[in-house]
């Protein structure tokens, strides 16, 4: 059994870990940690009361990963509370996306999850207003290069990331779920109409079908599959959870057609089914099959995604995996912008890197409060557009 299968088996059938040798545990712990899945494994084993059967040398690593994941959850909950205080009175619907949504809606992907950035989506007409309020309350632009600002604001589906100056948490403010320059155009208005309120305050989460489609789009349209294994597992979790409702599958199919997300859904079902044995009803598979690419592209994507999802360790990540990831990275760029724009963007990026334009970063002032100025970003490399 290869590493990826051991890892996926451990997450799908936690009882399987009791049969692992110490050497297999060694590789599993390292790969899970690298894939940000060690906290998830710890939670799953705890829920099934299997932690006592874990070898003594391994147990501290699981406990430690659990402590880190718990900390991330606390930070996320506090961050949402702070956002509620700041944005609650504006009368604007704020849709939580990805990790924040899973946590606040108490969905399975939240288990043992590590927090990255916090993603929220607001109507495009309200973006400037929300940004201004955030800047007044301690958030600061993370990346201030004028080109990057223009990249995000003009062409992408999100603003440049904002970091809170005290808490150091990063917020991504979206107005739709895929870049406007991209090939697919889901309607954000429909997303807001179907969104469901969660908790108190202005927060919503996407409707189940939309949540699955967003995850699929993020993974197969906009992403380069870095961290793909965890995202695929999230997708599997969502499909299993929502799929318990019989009407969900039909809604998912219809919604994909409405929102121009057929191809990402095709890939999502295909790879979740193949890699994680997600139980998908036959009519669903048949319905989505029509949205697949031609035979050759399908074969290519099978090979690329399968390689790109290898968990990998230093010295064992093969050339094949690196190449596969690079090709998918290039693909995500190709899908993000028309060719002429992509060529311009990549040229500018290359020139900047060559001549180290990062040295010319200037602080920018927020739109209101002319006497305030943003401090220089803490980590300029962090939010440079891909």
């Amino acid at each position: 059994m290869n590493d990826r299968d051991v890892l996926l088996d451990a997450l799908r059938e936690p009882a399987a870990v009791t049969a692992l040798s110490l050497e297999q545990w060694d590789r599993l712990v390292r790969q899970c940690r690298g894939a940000k899945l060690l906290g998830r494994l710890a939670v799953l084993l705890d829920q099934r009361q299997l932690l006592d059967q874990v070898p003594a040398q391994v147990r501290p690593h699981l406990d430690s990963a659990r402590a880190i994941a718990d900390r991330h959850q606390r930070v996320l909950r506090w961050e949402v509370t702070c956002l509620r205080r700041v944005l609650g009175g504006l009368g604007i619907p704020i849709v939580l996306l990805k990790g924040a949504a899973y946590q606040m809606a108490d969905l399975p992907p939240a288990r043992g999850r590590l927090l990255g950035d916090i993603d929220i989506m607001v109507p495009k007409t309200e973006v400037q207003r929300v940004e201004r309020v955030l800047l007044e309350h301690g958030w600061q632009p993370l990346n201030v290069h004028p080109y990057d600002q223009r990249y995000y604001r003009t062409w992408m589906h999100e603003l440049p990331p904002l970091m809170h100056r005290d808490r150091q948490t990063v917020l991504d403010l979206h107005h739709t779920i895929l870049p406007e320059t991209g090939r697919l155009h889901p309607d954000p208005q429909k997303l807001f109409e179907a969104a469901r309120r969660v908790g108190e305050g202005p927060f919503f989460v996407l409707a189940p079908a939309d949540m699955v489609l967003h995850s699929a789009a993020h993974l197969f349209q906009d992403g380069d599959l870095a961290g793909g294994l965890r995202d695929l597992i999230d997708l599997d979790d969502l499909l299993r959870h929502f799929g318990q409702e019989a009407s969900f599958w039909g809604e998912l199919l219809d919604r994909a057609k409405q929102q121009d997300l057929c191809r990402p859904l095709y890939y999502a079902l295909r790879f979740a089914g193949r890699c994680l044995r997600t139980p998908i009803p036959e009519p669903m598979i048949a319905g989505a099959a029509a949205w697949g690419p031609g035979r050759h592209v399908r074969w290519l994507m099978d090979a690329l995604v399968s390689r790109a999802l290898e968990p990998g360790l230093p010295g064992t990540t093969g050339l094949g995996t690196s190449v596969a990831r690079w090709v998918l990275y290039a693909r995500s760029h190709w899908l993000r912008m028309p060719p002429w724009l992509l060529a311009c963007h990549l040229t500018r990026k290359a020139l900047r890197r060559w001549f180290q334009y990062e040295d010319e970063l200037k602080p920018i002032a927020p739109p209101v409060l002319p006497d305030a100025s943003a401090e220089t970003p803490l980590d300029p490399s962090r939010a440079a557009p891909k």
Partner: protein, 312 residues
């Protein structure tokens, strides 16, 4: 078999093929490197450590390897990695052995949340331990080295590991890191001090490592009961002096020096509370190492207090 029993050639061969497996305190470290300096530093600093044959499970797999295509020949650099993490920027290859120790500190500090970890030295004598929390440059490592050369057992010079379930300190004896003038001070302090090569030009100046005493290494499995928390600070402008500090201010100081206090959340609070309850807390300024070490001989037995109902 100890690391020191291997010839340098054999150690180097293992280091650059399968890697070397070492137990440092509760952690098994698997170190791989093709650099000869690293082999030398390991053989010196970890001389008395048991050298393990290839183990099935290691806590940390680290690599110290040359970095960057053309840079291999022009101002060559190296990099420290733990699996897919690069916690340290590339550094001059000549300083690889120095950075390896900081890299190992990072591995523990970033991943060992089964303990409450404090940025502190820990020494023990007569069944009772002193925790010496301090930041870089405060003189804790120098004081720690002086104490260790004067009969105290070394538990750690950098990271105190506190077991949450019983509050005991878990040893992590490793080469003591000395910087700049401290190196000369320790060399003069005791002829027993075994100090390795000096590495100049690091971000902290000149660095060298003192081999931990054999007994400290051999007793690495014995946890210790904390009795004193002493916040040290090297201050040549005044006499060596100490002052009891209030439990409240000691708590705040200790929590701020705890590497993973926030990760542990409420449990971290409980552990620090119990630690403060059972220990006497002092601020300590010293101007001269010999005086400082002598003052530690006179530490009175702690009186345990409780700060109200505590959970077990």
């Amino acid at each position: 078999m100890n690391v020191g029993a291997l010839s340098l050639a054999e150690l180097y061969r293992r280091l650059r093929t399968d890697g070397v497996y070492l137990r440092a305190g509760p952690f098994v470290c698997h170190i791989f490197s093709p650099l000869g300096d690293v082999a030398e530093a390991l053989r010196f600093g970890y001389h008395d450590y048991p050298q393990l044959d290839r183990t099935a499970f290691a806590d940390f797999h680290v690599q110290i390897v040359p970095y960057g295509g053309l840079r291999r020949w022009v101002f060559p650099q190296a990099i420290f990695t733990m699996d897919t993490w690069r916690p340290i920027k590339p550094f001059p290859r000549a300083l690889a052995a120095a950075w390896m120790e900081w890299g190992l500190n990072w591995c523990v500090a970033a991943h060992a949340h089964q303990y409450l970890m404090i940025h502190a030295a820990v020494v023990e004598r007569g069944g009772r331990a002193v925790i010496l929390p301090a930041g870089s440059g405060a003189g804790k490592s120098t004081l720690c080295a002086g104490l260790v050369l004067s009969g105290w057992r070394l538990l750690s010079d950098e990271l105190a590991l506190v077991r949450p379930e019983d509050g005991l300190l878990v040893p992590l004896p490793r080469p003591v890191s000395l910087k700049n003038e401290s190196i000369g001070v320790i060399e003069q302090f005791s002829a027993q001090a075994k100090i390795g090569r000096r590495w100049g030009g690091t971000s902290k100046g000149t660095v060298a490592h003192m081999r931990p005493p054999v007994e400290s290494v051999h007793r690495a499995d014995e946890p210790a009961r904390p009795a004193w928390i002493v916040f040290p600070s090297y201050d040549p402008t005044g006499p060596t002096r100490s002052r009891r500090c209030s439990k409240g201010s000691a708590f705040m100081e200790l929590a701020s020096r705890s590497v993973n206090y926030r990760v542990l959340g409420a449990r971290g609070f409980d552990v620090v509370t119990r630690l403060i309850d059972r220990c006497d807390c002092y601020e300590f300024r010293y101007a001269q190492l010999g005086e400082a070490v002598a003052r530690f001989d006179t530490l009175p037995s702690p009186q345990e207090t409780t700060s109200g109902p505590t959970s077990p």
